[in-house]
Amino acid sequence: MPKRFADTAGGKAFLLNLWQDNPVFRQVLGICSTLAVTNLATNTLFMCLGLTFATALTSWTCSALRHHTPRQTRMMVQVLIAAAYVIVVDIALRAYVPDVHRLIGPYVGLIITNCIIMGRAEAFAIKNPPVPAFLDGAGAGLGYSGVLLAIACVREPLGFGTLFGLPLPAREAWFHPVTIMVMPPGAFFMLALVSWLGISLTARRPAGPPKGAAK
């Protein structure tokens, strides 16, 4: 009888990263690309795929090599492992979706220094076996993706009247471009609102006896 997914070490980490410990609004990591790529949903989608791929596999590799990595140089090793996977993502995007790559190219390269990757490698992968580490990384990547897509699905319709590049129904009737939404300040405001929502929804109940209980 197999254990339930949520009871395994990897499954637990996967679900925590997805929502309760979400990397973007809970741990405040990976903010740069969150702000930069979310004005077009298509770009966002490819960025999310790239980041999830790189984070999951970097965690897996760091974990597999964890007994062979000297403590002093582990940061450098992690960065180089991440760089190898990011180059794969970069080459793949350049080959298959050159238009997207032209817009988000530098940010794809910056996945290397994305704090989510380093954070998961440091916090989880160096002390856990490869499979849970892979799930932990994948959960963090998908948690990040959820937040980014939510932001993109507000910014693109308001700024361009489209979603994933397709015009929304009856666009002429209602659409008036909210230019601020596709410019940098719009990114800051949207992320602040989404974080506010996320933090309020995941706010932990205070531990210990409920309010009003005898001291």
């Binding site: 609004f25 405040v28 990591l29 990976g30 903010i31 740069c32 690309s33 702000l35 930069a36 940061m75 450098m76 960065v79 180089l80 760089a83 190898a84 990011v86 180059i87 970069d90 080459i91 530098p106 390269g109 910056l110 290397i112 220094t113 994305n114 704090c115 380093m118 601020i180 410019m183 940098p184 300040p185 719009g186 990114a187 800051f188 405001f189 992320l191 602040a192 609102l193 974080s195 506010w196 929502l197 933090i199 309020s200 706010a203």
Partner: protein, 210 residues
């Protein structure tokens, strides 16, 4: 019709000094790395709580950005591009930055212990500050840059980052006294303020034409 102050293409009138000044102002103000490109946000959000630490990190970032932009320019121009291995730029750049930060840390420790203690924890953090790698990557997209242009572009971006984190630190010190809804405390309120500052910086666009 607006008259551009100068054009940053090579061979433009105005001489090298004017051209470099334009690159510097454009990088620091109209194209601010933090407020329009969003790089270095993680450390910006975490560190900007205090003026003193912001100044320390800001100066360290400005210095490292300037030097690594120049080194990475040379590496790209004379090593990876002639060999046709531009796809390795990413890995080479990050190694250059890490190595430079390591050497800088040792040098500062050796020659100026006071500065070492002031900057201490920030130097190693800089290796994974995406603003540094970002400047080197964006520099590759600029056409016709020579070594001087690369150096000044790095300096402009570094100073722009320093300026932004100092502005934010000043505001956040005042903010400590204010009542803010629980869910907005910390990162979200900082993001909203960044948005408002970014609006201000957009006002600079048009001042410099690329």
């Amino acid at each position: 019709m607006t008259v551009p102050l100068a054009v940053t293409t090579p061979g433009a009138p105005g001489g090298l000094a004017a051209q470099l000044l334009i690159i510097f102002l454009a990088a620091a103000l109209t194209d601010n790395i933090l407020l329009t490109r969003f790089l270095g946000m993680c450390s910006f959000l975490a560190i900007s709580r205090q003026m003193k630490t912001s100044l320390g990190l800001g100066v360290a970032v400005a210095f490292v950005t300037t030097v690594t932009a120049a080194i990475n320019y040379l590496v790209h121009r004379y090593i990876t591009a002639p060999l046709g291995v531009e796809f390795l730029d990413l890995i080479v750049f990050i190694v250059v930055i890490a190595a430079f930060v390591q050497i800088l840390e040792m040098a500062v420790e050796r020659f100026s212990p006071a500065l070492y203690f002031a900057l201490g924890i920030f130097l190693p953090l800089i290796t994974v500050n995406c603003a540094i790698l970002g400047v080197s990557l964006f520099m590759l997209n600029k056409q016709g840059y020579g070594l001087w242009q690369a150096l000044v572009y790095g300096a402009g971006n570094g100073v722009g980052w320093l300026l932004a984190i100092l502005l934010m630190a000043g505001i956040r010190q005042k903010l400590k006294e204010d009542k803010i809804p629980a869910g907005l405390r910390g990162a979200p309120i900082t993001l909203i303020i960044s948005g408002i500052i970014a609006l201000g910086f957009i006002g600079f666009s048009g001042m410099v034409k690329f």
